[in-house]
Amino acid sequence: MITVLAEVDGADVAETSLEALTFARTLAGGRGTSLGVVVIGIGETTDEIDDSAADSLARTFADYGATRVRFIGGPDVAAYCAAAYAAALVDAARQWQSDVVIASGTPRGTEMLAHAAVRLDAVMAANAVETLSDDPLVVSRQVMGGSILEDMRVDSPVAVLTVAGHAVEAAPAERGESSDSGRAAPEIERVEHRADPADLVMAMQRLEPTEQADTAALTGARVVVGAGRGVGGADEFDDVLELVDLLGGALGVSRVVTNLGWRPHHEQVGQTGSRISPDLYVACGISGAIQHLAGCSSARTIVAINSDADAPMVTNAQYAVIGDLHEIIPAVNEELRRRRG
């Protein structure tokens, strides 16, 4: 069995977890094995996730090929603690006799799997994009910010993999794809995890919610308007922000913009910022360094607004408008307002 760590919000499964499940199902199909899904941190008790949410999640996981689902709760995993969460994940992987453990390459997924890899004495391959061979297991993974792929042999008895965000398109199992896929009612377990006290010293003390720091809004946005050095200054974002507002999207900026102090780091798109996959990315005044392209290349459609027709951001886009963004964006905003009446 392959164990997959899923990140959920209520009854909703993170898109990146569905991508990881899709990746895992392909691998499981080649190995003739099945999929088990682990959800950790559902509350102070294992009853805090209600039956309807559990059923809904289990149905979603079944659609993606899972035959077993384990919900793990309890006071020791009520607050995020990478070591305790990883211990709970490792328990499941051992009980299910898994030889592969997979999560999406999110900050949470990566941190937990790094802990799990140590505990399982396993090789870990981060940011995998495909499996090249099953025996021995060789995966291809993103390195150098995604501009280069590394084919890597993962030759420990248990393999630990994270799947690069948006490298795989999430797709439910087709009927008959594997012997177990499409099963209507996967086996559901509710497990209370009691953590080793040594693990709990790493527990998060508290979370300070701040609307400004909501990177989830950026990574989950259907439309992102990107802004780069071409905007010209910290006080020059009004038109761009109006476009964000008119499209109901999120603002994402290049690294140079945060380095210059024009906008905060949590808005940064790129290798050391957020990786986004919106339906539309409008890149305004962004030249398109490799590190930035690593963060936005999963956008379904990219539009570049740039004065340089040869800029990498333009050549990597599907559509482009050439010229001064401070002339073009107000005209776009005006056109959007006009058509909406």
């Binding site: 941190e111 590394e150 790493m202 979370l207 720091a213 109901g248 570049a304 408008v321």
Partner: protein
């Protein structure tokens, strides 16, 4: 007084075209510059700040080729007072080996009476993107670890570590000694001062072979991502193209009704 060890890595500067060696096992060093990743730059800044505030020390360490002396001197110019180079052929080293080499050096120094209260590493290496050296190091040393941290401050015998996550700022309070993996975004790395540069120039780097038999990285080969052919459709120039751009937005269905 907090003694900080900051672990840094010399990495290829990948903002321009990257070429591979003939055997496809590495980046062709003849065609790239080398630098530090932005995570490591922020880790050096935080190490220097803590050393200054607590009247402790900041020491930089790198595992790699003798060329990594350049990055270690850079760290000294930015406030580190010592520099250690553990010589290794990085092509033979995976994250397990890097963590083991650092842990062996920390243990060796501890035996000699030199303790590091806090070890900072970059959250991931800009080249290999392994995301695990800090965690593996922490387990080898029996220390707590936090990843994705933007700022740290010492509070008595604990380190307060903050990192921005999806829903806000996460705060961890770890007992020292600890390992913290630093993510870019919490501090602005300083520019090296002239006295700092002079100190870096004179600094004798402690240099010795990494004390580990490497198990390897599992690398089979490197290859380029398949280049996407440029199929850009120029909608026009200047504000006259606004209507065509809005047409595209309607076509792909992203304009709120």
């Amino acid at each position: 007084m907090t003694n900080v060890l900051v672990c840094i890595k010399r990495v290829p500067e990948t903002s321009s075209e990257v070429r591979l060696t003939d055997d496809s096992m590495d980046i062709d060093a003849g065609y790239v510059g080398y630098t530090l990743s932005s995570h490591d730059e922020c880790a050096i800044e935080l190490a220097s700040q803590i050393a200054e505030e607590t009247k402790g020390t900041a020491t930089a360490l790198s595992v790699g080729s003798p060329d990594a002396a350049e990055q270690l001197r850079g760290a000294v110019a930015l406030g580190c007072r010592g520099a250690i180079l553990l010589e290794a052929e990085l092509g033979q080293f995976g994250p397990v080996d890097i963590a083991a080499a650092i842990a062996a050096e920390v243990a060796r120094r501890s035996d000699d009476g030199e303790e590091f209260d806090l070890i900072l590493v970059g959250n991931d290496a800009a080249d290999t993107g392994d995301f695990q050296v800090g965690v593996r190091l922490a387990y080898l040393l029996g220390r707590p670890v936090a990843m994705g941290i933007s700022t740290v401050e010492i509070d008595g015998d604990r380190v307060m570590a903050r990192g921005v996550a999806g829903a806000g700022t996460e705060i961890y309070s770890l007992p020292l000694p600890a390992v913290v993996a630093i993510q870019e975004g919490g501090v602005d790395p300083r520019y090296p001062s002239i006295p700092g540069r002079m100190r870096a120039k004179r600094m004798k780097i402690e240099q010795r072979p990494a004390d580990v038999t490497p198990s390897g990285s599992g690398r089979v080969r490197l290859r380029r991502s398949a280049p996407k052919p440029s199929e850009v459709q120029i909608l026009g120039e200047g504000p006259d193209a606004a209507a065509a751009l809005v047409d595209v937005m309607y076509e792909i269905g992203v304009v709120p009704r």
